[in-house]
């Protein structure tokens, strides 16, 4: 079932949490709402669920082209996974998962045997069959999260909403769980929206990433697209590390290696990812920037260098391939030339159709 959000606004007192949000989540996709804390992503998720009401106005929320704005939470047929799981603490894992089935009106409620089968099937799906009789407080964080997911899936939701599903877990469990969630989604194909502030998580798991900031949507697109072609400086900076260069447009060409701003026609800001910087001991291009190595973090797949520009003292972060790092025999204090491979220019926040 697709989800369509039209002209949704939400204010809390004088604080604007959401400003005229429009979004289409295609049926069967896994979509990430990504943004810094306070950007309104959780509020948007809760409005989709019905736990929160949007400001009155001409806004609409459509599930499969049907307006659900006036429907209660219970009638929207959604599954919701809470950030801190919100498992029923006095119920066993089995009863938690069975809850959604046992509260159905008598006419729609499955029989005891059937409930049992369905719950055990779900527990198998989340690999927790052996824990059916345990209580939530006896489980690890990752197990609780899986119980919460099984509980949400028990009512066969048309839409699955997850609020920071892996936020409270440690790094390793997080990685395992998000891959598992991706596989699960590929099996079930239920339209899913999850909220996260972790760009890596959003890029790795989702079909579409919705980058949000200050109550607005900055960009929507597949992970590769938002990463490689950010719509604006915010998206660029939010999705991974980035170097920022100030420059100017000179005779129709954007330049970043000149300091003299007095003759600028128009100021530009250029961004480049650390792994898109070439370093060498000799000047290989006229655009190369001279810099000195200040720190080297050699641990990890790509050794990271912290460099200081000779001309204006600004620092640059660069990542070089391991082979290249060994070949150059880099030391702190070395004098290097840095050449950006993939610069993106923005003039007053808008992308400039020009790349080196």
């Amino acid at each position: 079932m697709s989800i369509e959000i039209r002209n949704i606004n939400k204010t809390f007192g004088s604080f604007t949490a959401l400003k005229d949000i429009n979004l289409l989540v295609p049926s069967g996709e896994l979509v990430a709402l990504l943004g810094p804390s306070g950007c309104g992503k959780t509020t948007l998720l809760r409005i989709i669920s019905g736990l929160e009401q949007p400001d009155p106005g001409n806004g609409a929320i459509l599930f499969h082209d049907e307006d659900v704005a006036s429907r209660s939470v219970a009638d929207r047929k959604i599954g919701f996974v809470f950030q801190h799981y919100a498992l029923f603490r006095h119920m066993s894992v089995f009863d938690n998962v069975a809850f959604g089935l046992t509260v159905k009106p008598r006419s729609q409620r499955p029989g005891k045997e059937e409930i049992r089968d369905q719950v055990m099937e779900l527990l198998r799906l989340v690999q927790l069959e052996s824990q059916a009789n345990r209580f939530p407080s006896q489980l690890s964080g990752g197990q609780r999260q899986r119980v919460a997911l099984a509980r949400a899936l028990a009512v066969k939701p048309k839409v699955l909403l997850l609020d920071e599903p892996f936020g409270a877990l440690d790094a390793k469990v997080r990685q395992e769980l998000r891959r598992w969630l991706r596989r699960l989604h590929d099996e079930l194909h239920v339209t899913s929206v999850f909220v996260t502030h972790d760009q890596e998580e959003a890029l790795e798991v989702s079909d579409q990433v919705v980058v949000m900031n200050a109550g607005q949507i900055e960009q929507v697109g597949p992970p590769a697209e938002v990463y490689d072609h950010p719509a604006n400086p915010f998206v660029y900076q939010f999705l991974g590390n980035v170097n920022l260069f100030h420059g100017r447009i000179d005779g129709g060409e954007a330049k970043i290696n000149h300091l003299d701003r007095s003759q600028s026609e128009q100021e530009v800001v250029a961004y480049v990812r650390p792994h898109d910087l070439d370093v060498s001991r000799e000047r290989t291009s006229p655009d190369a920037i001279e810099a000195i190595v200040r720190y080297i973090h050699a641990a990890g797949g790509m050794p990271r260098l912290e460099l200081e520009r000779l001309d204006n003292g600004e620092s640059i972060a660069a990542e070089v391939a391991r082979e290249r790092y060994r070949e150059l025999e880099l030391q702190v204090g070395d004098h290097l030339f840095v050449t950006p491979r993939n610069l993106r220019f923005f003039v007053e926040g808008a992308p400039l159709d020009y790349q080196i």
Binding site: A86, R89, V103, Q138, V155
Partner: protein
């Protein structure tokens, strides 16, 4: 008292460095002795005195004290007052705690303070409030007299005073617990399709049942033992508007010591039962918590 001793023991075990020294052993013993003396003097001695005075003339005289119709009427009235006040305050306490813990609204802190009011004012004043409201010279007095409704110096007044004095107990037990638990579980239940009623019975209530029971026990003890507020509105009409504590006072003032202490022993027994019930509830709640916190050996 056993709890006090074990608590003292437990306390001395925690600061490891201190526990060893000779000096601290004496501090510990000294504190135990002081505590025992204090409890003995202020608790056990009076309790023993009540029972010994009640049984001074043997069991026959003791049980004869309850054969008196006035005594039976007092017991009945106490049961009626508690029987109305406790359920009423259970419902009120739950509603107030739910309101305060799960909703945000202007004046919340004022409401919290108001709930504590009966703790803050003297019971005599609590009784006087009702005299001023419903007494013959009170605000509603003339109207009530016209319609031949008696509140003051009658059973309704006693019930009202008891309800007023005991209403914080249940709410006070529940508010901190419900605030700590938040409303995530209720929201989860709603999303899963439960209606408000199902959410209350299957999620909210089970989460607070032990605190609720604890509050009810304390509320009941106070409702049965209340003297001051009830005394003001009662009028001390024998066999009509006397509760157990008031009946004890009358008997005592008449130098009928055996009967006075015999009836008083009922209240003492009630207090002891309350303590036992309270410990049981605490023990059950701890058991449940311990069972829930039992570490899991199975890997993620």
């Amino acid at each position: 008292m056993a709890a006090t001793i074990s608590m003292l023991k437990g306390a001395s075990n925690s600061p490891v460095g201190l526990a060893r020294s000779e000096e601290n052993v004496w501090i510990k013993r000294g504190l135990i002795i002081v505590t025992l003396l204090f409890l003995g003097f202020f608790l056990f001695l009076p309790l023993a005195a009540v029972f010994s005075a009640a049984l001074e003339k043997g069991f026959g005289a003791y049980f004869a004290s309850f054969d008196d119709p006035d005594a039976l009427a007092a017991i009945k009235l106490t049961l009626i007052a508690a029987g109305i006040a406790v359920p009423l305050n259970l419902v009120f306490g739950l509603a107030a705690a739910w309101l305060i813990a799960k909703f945000n609204f202007a004046g919340k802190s004022v409401l919290l303070t108001l709930i504590d009011l009966p703790f803050a004012v003297s019971p005599v004043i609590s009784g006087l409030i009702y005299v001023l409201l419903f007494g013959l010279q009170g605000w509603f007095g003339p109207w009530l007299a016209e319609h031949d409704i008696k509140i003051i110096f009658a059973v309704p007044g006693i019930v009202l005073a008891t309800v007023f004095v005991t209403f914080p107990f249940v709410a006070r037990e529940l508010i901190p617990l419900m605030q700590e638990q938040g409303s995530d579980e209720e929201q989860a239940a709603l999303v899963l399709g439960a209606n408000g009623w199902q959410t209350f019975w299957r999620v909210t209530l089970p989460n607070v049942k032990w605190a609720l029971l604890y509050g009810v026990i304390l509320c009941n003890a106070r409702a049965m033992g209340e003297f001051g507020a009830v005394s003001v509105v009662s009028g001390h009409i024998r066999g009509m508007t006397n509760t157990i504590p008031l009946h004890v006072e009358i008997l005592y003032n008449e130098y009928n010591f055996v009967a006075a202490f015999a009836v008083a022993s009922l209240l003492a027994i009630l207090a002891l039962l309350t303590l036992v019930a309270k410990s049981l509830v605490e023990w059950r709640a701890r058991q449940e918590l311990a069972a829930a916190l039992e570490p899991t050996m199975i890997k993620d």
